[in-house]
Symmetry: D2
Subunit: 295 residues, 4 copies
Amino acid sequence: MQLGLVGLGKMGFNMRERLRAGGHEVVGYDRDQQVADVPSLAGMVERLTPPRTVWVMVPHGEPTRSTLRELAELLAEGDLVVEGGNSPYSEDRENADFLAERGISYVDVGVSGGVWGARNGYGLMAGGETADVERVMPVFDTLRPEGDRDKGFVHAGPVGAGHYAKMVHNGIEYGLMQAYAEGFELLEASGVVTDVAGTIRAWSHGTVVRSWLLDLLVRAMEEDPELQRLEGYVTDSGEGRWTVEESIRNAVPTPAITAALYARFASRQEDSPAMKAVAALRNQFGGHAVKSSDE
Amino acid sequence: MQLGLVGLGKMGFNMRERLRAGGHEVVGYDRDQQVADVPSLAGMVERLTPPRTVWVMVPHGEPTRSTLRELAELLAEGDLVVEGGNSPYSEDRENADFLAERGISYVDVGVSGGVWGARNGYGLMAGGETADVERVMPVFDTLRPEGDRDKGFVHAGPVGAGHYAKMVHNGIEYGLMQAYAEGFELLEASGVVTDVAGTIRAWSHGTVVRSWLLDLLVRAMEEDPELQRLEGYVTDSGEGRWTVEESIRNAVPTPAITAALYARFASRQEDSPAMKAVAALRNQFGGHAVKSSDE
Amino acid sequence: MQLGLVGLGKMGFNMRERLRAGGHEVVGYDRDQQVADVPSLAGMVERLTPPRTVWVMVPHGEPTRSTLRELAELLAEGDLVVEGGNSPYSEDRENADFLAERGISYVDVGVSGGVWGARNGYGLMAGGETADVERVMPVFDTLRPEGDRDKGFVHAGPVGAGHYAKMVHNGIEYGLMQAYAEGFELLEASGVVTDVAGTIRAWSHGTVVRSWLLDLLVRAMEEDPELQRLEGYVTDSGEGRWTVEESIRNAVPTPAITAALYARFASRQEDSPAMKAVAALRNQFGGHAVKSSDE
Amino acid sequence: MQLGLVGLGKMGFNMRERLRAGGHEVVGYDRDQQVADVPSLAGMVERLTPPRTVWVMVPHGEPTRSTLRELAELLAEGDLVVEGGNSPYSEDRENADFLAERGISYVDVGVSGGVWGARNGYGLMAGGETADVERVMPVFDTLRPEGDRDKGFVHAGPVGAGHYAKMVHNGIEYGLMQAYAEGFELLEASGVVTDVAGTIRAWSHGTVVRSWLLDLLVRAMEEDPELQRLEGYVTDSGEGRWTVEESIRNAVPTPAITAALYARFASRQEDSPAMKAVAALRNQFGGHAVKSSDE
């Protein structure tokens, strides 16, 4: 089918490739004219035959919001917008209502798979009206991995459910990575296992902990077996925070996911103010030595 | 090759099947005569041609220790014992030294894969002298998944390293399961996603969180989509505790794995004594209502 | 000085007593006419001489908001409202702006001390303009504990800072209670210490862990040494959640405070959905026994 | 009464002062002849009239064990040894049995209060036979804070109970300090409260979080309001680790205390190997930028 695609970064660019290989007609727009098929959003919309479908794949927050505002002006009744970025689910209802005023439909989709999705297909979680989701199904069927539709795609619920599912997916992802990372550190620190990289590689088949993330860890360790070339500095892009905020809103204890989030926070601190306070206290009551900050 | 196998429970029984299918001659002993090939340990040893290899696959602790003591009497110089149960690595050195006094070699092996190993092959982590590990290699090659040896088997280091690797593997397993479990609970609690089972099934291809454990969760939810038939009661068999103890010994922070262990502890409590204390405190300072235990 | 006081519950009632004992003229209003000095908010305002000061001490959320709306109608330019409830700091700026449109000043105050404040004095944290805070100082000086003003009162910063300080105070309170509670549970569970109540009482002087909360725990255990009469069920009234949300917003790891919050969440669950998922997984891969929910 | 005191470091030195001020005859021995009253352990024992009481106050581990071995040779039937250091409770039974072979009694005592105990008195937790504990009571009564005996002293149970109580006390102490430290860091990071030191000082009276540790934090911040002169580097001396190990042994969830322990571990790491693994994974699946370690 015909699709407008806004945002041709790491994710959008690859998706365009996969969609075209699947026989779809994709008109891609990006601020970067090197990769864009059209010079402007308006140009993209002109190239599409109504009723149009436009997939938005730009960073969440202001970039997504301004794109939707622009599209609301350019699109017409009967068109449909797919929000495929990592927007917080809490914004989907508002987005949908805003577009509905102009008769434009809205589907939110969580897309997982990273840079590998181009080859393997993307895991997709959609939220919206059934008719709207069905309308985009040819595109979903090409983007998702081959095989059964329900193992790689889900219509998770009403508007917002797609991003909600993706948010929880990413929260889980934080926890999974943290678990592997803790195991890796313990293996390295204890020294009992002398072939750490080989041990992790051996886990990739037959074991209970085998997974795609483990395969990626094996891959990373092929180039750098002790991960010495990297700094233990990890940013976070929102979904982990939202997952914990949602767990608080719903009174659900999520200690492992939260531990993963906090480990990232700590990884970015030069020094821990909290630990300064503990050092100060120990010095006060026990005369324990402290390190002064200019040592 | 020829192998004595002690312990024909869920793991040992399946391993015998896989080994025989792979062309090995297995003499299996178990206290349960229904499954045993020989009536006694002594009978098993008699049936083996020196230098013998005996694989011990019984519960850790006293069952393993008493089996090793008996084998020490029955075996002879040049024989080799493989300890394949989930023993704590801290006991391997002692086991090895005890058998070495009689000229018997010792290899410890961590075996992962559960009841699925019979079909898929088992992930194997071995500890011991290189010559000893090499000697058992034909057996390892049959037990492990097909394909490259190093993706399903590792000679992790000296005696103890096999069980150490398995211990950390299980610690990671705790963390992975906890991460999925927290995500599942949040999806159920929030109600935004209306097809929770379908969402988790959709994660099984293409996504970052795809894994064998996820496949098993999908499988469990096929029969019981909201897991209503189960109680949230989870035992633990040692490796998770040992992982945390080791992390403390090595001053390695393992918050996610520890959270998983503590969640299991809490799952087995009728009521939380700690929370009684918090309730008592809130009642004292704020006059907050408490629930009396006979409500 | 003269003060209108709205809300005569557990906190407000005691505060009126302490203020009157300190020589202030308090006109108290509450929906409960049994405790109110006046029949209506309007009646209260009429009884005050401009420029008036009105202290609002009602539950946060809608009760506080509707009280402020009503007061905005009744008060006049030059009057001052003190918001002394446990409102989230994020609402203070809005409250202040709303009242400022009518020329009414706004001070937010965090009040700590619980039911004991009547006797011991309340710990007070104020946010607002310096002139506004100074204007209420006679009231603060009576409410706070005797002794140095700066050990029981702080002008913490601009509007919102009082409630922010109180929020963090309560977050810390969660962590402190959790630490004592965990220690109590370990003492009870291990059985090595045979006089648990006596041990905790002995900590009340000389030790590093002595505190007012410990004194309250000692008090609770005088009546019920093993806290058997209580259920381990603990509610939460918002500040703990907000503290964790703020820690996420500021990328500050707060694992102990978060653990305390999650322990409360778990205390209110009949069964843990997350642990159902872990039980299901263990059953799938290892054939581990599960408890069915109707056992 | 007459008392031999071995170990005159920060704790022992102060205790000798307090005991002498209380009218006891103390013969102190230390390897440091500057502070010792006698040139040798043997000299100390000679100066004491049987039946002797000797208080050992040296670092736990080998120093304590070798002191007990030496004392076993020098003392005689009917004498009594008090182990007042921070020994793990698991060693007390062995110590007691070893001395009992020579007819020497044994009492273990946990001593809290740090360098302030000299002035305020020490919180004391004793384990042992009732008759033995009674025998040392005059010394306990002088060391503990003035006032009721049971608010500063407890006979916690049989041999080992004193150190067990002290271990849990220190575990709680870890949790309390962590809670204050997290609150401090959040106040500093958010910037909403402009007078952080003043806010913490204001908590010292009237509030729910008031405590001796808070007083010490106020004291530390008087000299260094933002704790800028300190490094966030915190060692640990064993009791925190033992508390978590015991919680695992007893299947008691202690997430706040464990969080405090792990925060100390992390405070001593130059870089986090676990976070290297997370960074590596994110780079693999998402092409997320990483910091190379030589940046």
